[in-house]
Symmetry: C2
Subunit: 109 residues, 2 copies
């Protein structure tokens, strides 16, 4: 198959998985780290930084944009990508909640 049975799960579970899935590739982690650490967030600079082809990076950017983690700003011929505050904050909330839902004393085996 290769198709995920999303209908079987809650909205919350699906969204959580979707966000984490977007982070589930080293190139996308590298892109996010670069965008955060640089003043520049121009697409071309990302392409120079990350050892993958321009088309591949464009695709990864698209995926990150799809879940909302980054947003693209067309500035003339260039596109500037940056973190979307709202979704980054959502991701922070989701992660904190998820991580804190377990504590070592819950251990059952």
């Amino acid at each position: 198959m290769g198709i995920t049975k999303s209908t079987q799960f809650t909205k919350n579970q699906n969204r959580k998985a979707e966000l984490y899935k977007a982070l589930g590739h080293p190139a996308r982690i590298a892109i996010i780290e670069f965008v955060i650490n640089q003043d520049s967030c121009v697409c071309g600079d990302i392409v120079d930084e990350i050892p993958l082809s321009q088309s591949t990076i464009s695709q990864h950017l698209k995926e990150l944009k799809k879940v909302g983690i980054i947003k693209g700003d067309i500035e003339g011929v260039k596109t500037c990508y940056c973190i979307d505050d709202k979704v980054w904050s959502e991701l922070d909330d989701v992660s904190r909640l998820f991580m804190s839902s377990y504590s070592e004393k819950d251990k059952c085996c």
Copy 2:
């Protein structure tokens, strides 16, 4: 292709992506939530809870075990799955660090 060029990225980036990728499926989120919220963590109970076949769930458990998030304890004919404290704590650290590496004032566009 479909193959990830891991060699191009840092150990840290690859590990981060690997952990998030494991969380990037609603069934695996549901499994983790179930294991955390129930006293029971027996495989059969997970199969009863989650609307996917036994073999599919077994595969998801295998993936979670691969990155270390859960560990399985064979108890006679049953297997008890639970969170691996060390990896859960790693995930917590990784997430906190990653999330806090960006703050709204970094915005460049």
